[in-house]
């Protein structure tokens, strides 16, 4: 039961993020919402690789008495998460710079004050 908590958190994070993207009119809040969804997905990936009582998957730092490889957590989801975080940083930087530019042009952070429609 307690092991389901991370998955419930994942669902909550994605739901909160989607709520922010779908219903918040402030552009910065939309960016925050996307980051929250991304955190949810990353948490999901990390949780998949976890094993009860596992240690970090580094051979040279292995505490004595740990079985190899059963006692280690899976390294692949961690690599995936790291890649995803790096991409997330790039996307966030680009998104914030776009928001800054849009604010300079429109003097508004409202998603309803758009120019392109129809």
């Amino acid at each position: 039961m307690i092991w389901n908590v991370p998955f419930i958190t994942v669902a909550l994070l994605i739901a909160i993020g989607l709520y922010a993207v779908m219903f918040k009119r402030n552009l910065i809040k939309i960016a925050i919402g996307i980051t929250i969804i991304e955190s949810g997905v990353n948490l999901f990936l990390i949780t998949l690789g976890y094993r009860k009582g596992g240690v970090a998957p580094i051979y040279t730092n292995l505490p004595s008495g740990v079985k190899v490889p059963e006692g280690m957590v899976l390294p692949v989801p961690q690599a995936l998460t790291l890649t995803s975080i790096v991409i997330g940083v790039a996307v966030l930087a680009l998104m914030l710079s776009f928001i800054m530019k849009m604010y300079q042009h429109n003097k508004s952070l409202d998603s309803h004050s758009r120019r392109l429609k129809g």
Binding site: A56, I58, Y59, T60, N61, L62, P63, S64, L82, V86, V89, A90, A93, L94, L96, S97, M100, K101, Q104
Partner: protein
């Protein structure tokens, strides 16, 4: 922090502490980059630490002062050189008739040793091309993140060039 008179500089205490901390943060970031193949960390994490040092300097001294010290073009060039090193290393594998990203340095004096199995502190001179790739990624991340923060700081008061 009184922006009007000091160009966004913070108080002398902050500036002195920031200057004192700068070498330590940079050394730690180089440690993280260089030991990427042995301990948790690597190019991205180390680069982010170094970029955060630059962010700290921008916060302490104000972006107008920092703009004179580090130029955006210089940072972009660091980024380009890092990425070029990464791609060239990847291509050397192809030229050696193996494959893209082939670890061609294994068994050579440069980063070529094999660490012993089991719990040990690790050997820095191992890992093949991985340390070189870590350094390249580190350069790219330092250049990229610092340029992004600098541009965002500049864009507040003038039409800065976007990344």
């Amino acid at each position: 922090m009184n922006d009007e008179t000091n160009d966004g500089r913070m108080s002398i205490i902050v500036r002195t502490i920031a200057t004192m901390m700068l070498p330590f943060i940079l050394i730690f970031s180089f440690y993280v980059i260089m030991h990427g193949h042995l301990t948790p960390g690597g190019g991205f994490q180390g680069g982010a630490i170094a970029a955060s040092a630059i962010v700290m300097m921008i916060a302490a001294y104000g972006h107008k002062m920092m703009e004179k010290r580090i130029s955006e073009d210089g940072l972009s060039m660091v980024e380009s050189v890092g990425a070029t090193i990464f791609a060239v290393v990847a291509f050397i594998g192809v030229i050696m008739a193996a494959s893209f990203m082939y670890n061609f340095l294994v068994g050579t004096p440069l980063f070529g040793e094999t660490p012993p199995f089991g719990s040990n502190p690790g050997i820095l001179n191992s890992g093949g091309v991985l340390p070189i790739l870590n350094i390249a990624v580190g350069m790219k991340v330092i250049g990229g993140l610092a340029a992004v923060v600098l541009i965002m700081a500049l864009a507040g008061d003038e039409e800065g060039d976007k990344k």
